[in-house]
Symmetry: C2
Subunit: 315 residues, 2 copies
Amino acid sequence: MEFPISLEDIIAAHQRIAPYIHRTPILTSESVDKIAGCELYFKCENFQKVGAFKARGGVNAVLSLPEDQRKNGVVTHSSGNHAQAIALAAKMAGIPAYIVMPKTAPEVKRKAVAGYGAQITLCEPTQQSREENAARIQKETGATFISPYNDYSVITGQASCAKELLEDQPDLDIIIAPVGGGGLMAGTLLSAHYINNRIDVYAGEPEGAKDTYLSMQAGEITKVDEPSSIADGLLASMGDKNFEIIKPLVKEVFLVTDEEIVEAMRLIWERLKIIIEPSCAVPVAALLKNKEVFAGKKVGVILTGGNVDLAKLPF
Amino acid sequence: MEFPISLEDIIAAHQRIAPYIHRTPILTSESVDKIAGCELYFKCENFQKVGAFKARGGVNAVLSLPEDQRKNGVVTHSSGNHAQAIALAAKMAGIPAYIVMPKTAPEVKRKAVAGYGAQITLCEPTQQSREENAARIQKETGATFISPYNDYSVITGQASCAKELLEDQPDLDIIIAPVGGGGLMAGTLLSAHYINNRIDVYAGEPEGAKDTYLSMQAGEITKVDEPSSIADGLLASMGDKNFEIIKPLVKEVFLVTDEEIVEAMRLIWERLKIIIEPSCAVPVAALLKNKEVFAGKKVGVILTGGNVDLAKLPF
C-alpha cells in the first residue's frame, strides 16, 4: 500500500526539527513491569519542549512553510499542547501566531501559550467553535492555518517520536499510544511500518471520545457528539488524512474509562516519579486493562505530555 | 583536618551498593536556569530505589554488618524514606527489619515499607517516642539499630550521591542539598572535600526545623523544640557524628519558609515534569531566595526524593 508520507519524508522532518526539540529519554520501571506483566519502555515526551510531543509536528509544520507564506504568520486551534507547539515554532521563526483555545483549556496551558508571545482567542469547547474562529482569523490576517493533526507535515513531525523510540529500542514487539485527532497515531504507525513492520501498534482512546473506535468499526470516519473525558487532549475528532493511514495499519483501538485513566496516571506519578497529563495516561490504562495482549512482550509506550493544572488534580 | 570517613571508604561503599541502587540521571532545564540566574544540574534521587537517596545509606549500613550481627535483623526509626531503605536492604539480605514510624508519616511511605515485608510500629511524631520504641524493639529482638543519619556507614553510603554527581559534572562551582539529621549533608561535604575542595557546599533547611542553622551559629549542637515543617523528611535533629563533619565544611545554611518550599516544589513539578517531595524542594527554595550567591555559577542540586502522598498535595 502507498502512503502519502514516505520514510524519507520522516527522516527529513526529523533532521529539520532536531535542533529545536529534545531527544527525549526512555524510562523503565521494574515495579510497573511487575504490575503490567510485560516489559515497558516509556518514551517520555512529557520532557519534550512545551511539555508534549506536539512540539515535533508544530515545529515541522512551521519550518516546512515556504518563506512567502510564512510572513503573515500561522493560526491554529488547540486545547493546549499543539497551541504551545505552534506558538514556540512561530517564535523561533520570528512570525506571528494566532491561537484559538477552548475556554475550558487548563490555565497552565493558556499561560504557556501567552508566554511565547502568541495572540490567544478563547472559544467554546466545540469543534465547530474552534474551526469557525480559526477560519475568521485566517481570513482577517492572511495567516496559514496549521491543523493540530489533519496535516501531513504535522503527522510527519509526530512520526519522529516513534522513530527515536525504535532507534533506542529496536526489538520492541508492540507500540501503544493514545489517539485523539490522529496525528501522533498516524505518525507512529508510519514509523513502525517503515522501520519494522512486525511491530503491532495499538491505540488507547477514552470511552467518552471514542470516535476512532467507532470509525474503525464502521470503516469510515464516525463522529461522537459532545465528546467528553478527563483526557482533554483527546477530544478532537479523527481527521481524514489521519484515518487513511490509521485504518489499514492500527492493530486495535482499546477504550478506557476516566476512572481507569486516573488510576493509570496515579500509577505513573507514584512509581516513575514523573508528571504526565490525563491524555498521556490513556495507553497505560489500556495496557493495564488488556494484560493478556501484552503479556511478556516488549512494549513501547509513548507518554505524550506532562502539562497538568496542579490546582485541578484528579487525586 | 582528619575525618572519620576517608575517600577510600566512600569508594568502597559505592562499589558495595552499586549493584543494588540506581545511578540516577542529572536533569537540566533552560527555563528554570533562566528563573534562577545560574546553571543548575539536578541529581535526581527521586528516581532512586525506594524513591529517595536514603537507599544508598540504608543498603550500605545493612551490607556492612558482620554476618553474625545481621541474623537478628535491623531496627530503625524514620518518617519514611530511611524506613523504606532499611526495609529494602533487609529484604535483599534476607533478614528481618523492624521499623518505627511516626504516625504522621505519609500513607504512601507506610504502604511501601509494609510492601518490603518489614514490621512497622507506629509512634508519636517526636524524637523521644521514636528512640524509645526503637530501643525497646532492639532489646526484645536483638536486632541492630541503624540510625537514619547518625551512623558512619549511613553517611558513607549517602556520600556516593555527590560522588556520582561530580563524576558526571566535574566542574561544578557549588553543590546544595537539604539538611535534616545531617547524613546526606555530611556525606555530600566529604565527597566534595575529597574530590574537589574548591566547591562550596550549601545547606537548605526549613525555618521550622532550623537546628543546623542554630547549631552552626552556636558552634555546638542546638536543638529545636517541636520542629515543624511541610518538609517532613527534615524534622530530625542533627546527629553528633554528622555535626563533626558539617561544622568545619559547610559554607552556609540557608533557611526557607514552608511557603517558599511549596513554591519551589511547584516550579520543579511544572518545569521539570518530575515529582519531588517537599523536603526535596528545600535546596531549590534556598537558591531561589539567595540568587546573588549562585548568580552565573554551575550548581549541583541534590533532589533527594519523590515520595509524596498524592491525596495530600499542598497545591
